[in-house]
């Protein structure tokens, strides 16, 4: 059994190469388990647990090039704590970016709000109303203010989600289409908000894992390419 892993700050995605099955675990569950090692990994926490390490931008790029057939495209991975971006022209990288600090364009502020108000983002309707989220923390404060002033919790949170989605769209350079990777693919409200601005193709949470598969293949590993891009649900 050959395992590869994308060890994110909040979630670790593990793929068993032979079956292509992907398992998603809270990262806190693997931190203490030092015996868990991988053939290849990405993400800071995976560095000391693997034979082949790729940084996240390389894994995202290789995964994007494997899953997207267009010559020119933008792929954005919105994680809990960071947002990564790769833009390709003629399948060559022309912009690589990685926001590791600002909560105005990352998932954790959405997580915080969702947990606080017990919001299910998969059924929260997107709103055309957009909160101005220039800073994640100030943005949260505005949500509270807006609710105090009489907005419904759902409307206030959805407008905040819209603000974050708009920031991601701007960070991506306002393209016609975004290939979206990462946990926020599962947040319907976020995806629908992003669709106010551009076409969105959701690639799911395993793009970096596919990048690792490609990396191993380049290094001569037998990654059973006959299975190609077929994905198997965990």
């Amino acid at each position: 059994m050959t395992l590869i892993a994308d060890c994110g700050t909040s979630w670790t995605k593990i793929m068993e190469i032979e079956s292509r099955k992907v398992k998603v675990l809270p990262t806190r569950e693997i931190i203490g388990n030092r015996s868990l090692t991988f053939e290849a990994a990405t993400g800071h926490l995976g560095r000391s647990r693997c034979k082949v390490y790729e940084n996240e931008l390389i894994a995202l790029s290789l995964g994007g090039l494997m899953l997207v057939e267009e010559e020119d495209f933008v792929i954005v991975d919105v994680g809990a704590r960071d947002t990564k971006l790769c833009q390709f022209r003629s399948r060559r990288p022309v912009r690589l970016d990685w926001n590791q600090a600002c909560g105005a364009a990352t998932g954790f502020t959405l997580e915080l709000l969702g947990k606080y108000y017990e919001i299910d983002y998969s059924i929260l309707p997107a709103t055309r109303k957009r909160a101005n989220v220039t800073c994640g923390v100030f943005g949260l404060e505005r949500v509270f203010d807006s609710i105090i002033k009489g907005s419904s919790i759902e409307e206030a949170v959805a407008s905040f989600v819209h603000g974050v989605a708009y920031n991601v769209y701007t960070f991506a350079g306002k393209p016609d289409r975004i290939y979206l990777s990462g946990g926020l693919c599962l947040n319907r409200c976020f995806v629908e908000s992003l669709r106010f601005y551009c076409d969105v193709v959701e690639l799911g949470r395993d793009v970096l894992l596919w990048g690792l598969v490609e990396s191993l293949r380049e290094r001569g590993y037998d990654t059973d390419q006959d299975q190609g891009r077929d994905r198997a649900d965990a």
Partner: protein, 246 residues
């Protein structure tokens, strides 16, 4: 006075340095680079780190410096001129120089050699103090680095030895630090990282050229961040693959 060091920044004409060498006998010290000086908080934090280095290094080495030879012309930048004024005001002896030489003094040998990139850049900058007659094995470029020597020189260690040097550093090897044409030279087919120190006016050139030639534009303020390292590593790796696949 004899034995005191000669501080300098930018690329002063050699005769200006030699004149001070005769006067003091001490070694020239490049104040642009990170010499580990503490922050004296004279220059704002949100400002070009190279200029901060100049002022902090000068204050740190204060008693050891006989004079500062300050490049303040088009060959450096306005911020260099301001730093000279501040240092003069703080009591340093400052000799302002302008290196507007536009005649190429030597062909490119180091910028296009197969040395590690950091060594290439360091040897080019050493040309300011002394000529270099060593032989250099040339290589075909797989990648390019455009820019000035960065505050955090570890950036250069991310590149393969087959990286050619462009930008102001290349102009220094030519001996023409004010020659904008030399600074704008690129090989359009070579995937190049266009670097500028944050808050430096050269960011305009770096961004413009990166977009024109599909390169990677980066700016760095202080120490390298994981994000910058990842960007440069990815750009090199992905272009390396393309280069070798085609």
């Amino acid at each position: 006075m004899r034995g005191k060091k000669i501080g300098y920044y930018g690329y002063p004409p050699r005769d200006a340095l030699d004149k001070q060498r005769e006067r003091f006998g001490g070694d020239p010290v490049d104040l642009d680079v990170d010499l580990g000086a503490p922050d004296f908080r004279v220059i704002p934090e949100v400002y070009c780190h190279i200029i901060r280095n100049i002022v902090n290094n000068a204050l740190h080495l204060k008693d050891q410096l006989g004079v500062i030879v300050a490049a303040v012309g088009e060959d450096k930048c306005d911020q260099g001129r301001f730093a000279a004024k501040i240092l003069k005001d703080m009591g340093f002896e400052v000799v302002e120089v302008r290196n507007h030489n536009m005649k190429r003094l030597r062909p490119l040998r180091i910028a296009t050699s197969n040395l590690p990139l950091r060594e290439k850049v360091e040897r080019i900058m050493d040309l300011i103090q002394a000529d270099d007659e060593r032989e250099y094995v040339q290589c075909k470029p797989t990648h390019g680095f455009w820019g000035v020597p960065p505050h955090d020189m570890r950036l250069l260690e991310l590149f393969p030895n087959t990286t050619h040097v462009y930008g102001w550093t290349r102009a220094v090897e030519y001996g023409t630090p004010a020659d904008l044409e030399a600074e704008m030279e690129v090989d359009p087919d070579v995937p190049t990282v266009f670097y500028a120190q944050s808050f430096c006016a050269k960011n305009a050139l770096a961004k413009y050229l990166a977009e024109k030639y599909d390169g990677l534009y980066i700016d760095v303020h202080g120490k390298l961040t994981n994000s910058v390292i990842a960007k440069v590593e990815a750009f090199i790796r992905l272009n390396w693959d393309v280069k070798h696949k085609t």
